[in-house]
Symmetry: C2
Subunit: 124 residues, 2 copies
Amino acid sequence: MPIGFVESSIILREDAPSQGDEGAPDAWIILNEHVTEGLEGIYVGQRLIILTWFHQSKRNVLKLHPRWDKNNPLTGVFATRSPDRPNPIGLHPATVLEIQENKIKVSSLEAINGTPVIDIKPDL
Amino acid sequence: MPIGFVESSIILREDAPSQGDEGAPDAWIILNEHVTEGLEGIYVGQRLIILTWFHQSKRNVLKLHPRWDKNNPLTGVFATRSPDRPNPIGLHPATVLEIQENKIKVSSLEAINGTPVIDIKPDL
């Protein structure tokens, strides 16, 4: 069950960069009301890991050419960060830019608008 | 749906350290047969992030005293790494020690025997 969702200017999957540091825009994480108090203690400037569920992913992919490049050798999905994978969980390291009641703005998130958020943790 | 499970000498939750670098033992990740080919390309010495599902967690916890210490101030769950959280996903950075057909041995995993594994990724 999602705890919230991503509000982003990226609308289509083909417009999302492969990693956050490859030009992804800042985005809002909108928390469901019933879990909002779980944000207490998060502060501007903190490094977090946002966990998302790539709801548009193919879940039957076990091998692939990394970065959709046929020049890269066919590789097991667990050795890659492909969003197409059996459980399509995204890990997004991000910095907190702003906090408002039930939402937080974070830097450079490579997830499309409407992507479910399943957890938020302090960075490893 | 799990992709496999943890085989560990830690049997009880109260015996698991809070973090892998606090004395957790090496453990095996046993993959389900139908996803085994997803391991191809993983190598001994590689740094991975193992994602687990803490199946014994309480999922209604929104605030807590970090590390179960009343001296720590009550904190929102998303600002902590508590295993008790709405979606009890564990992130475990670990090094690959050995690979055998459908299983990999990794260093210092703070998850109990039988914990479901939901994803494996290269380290961030």
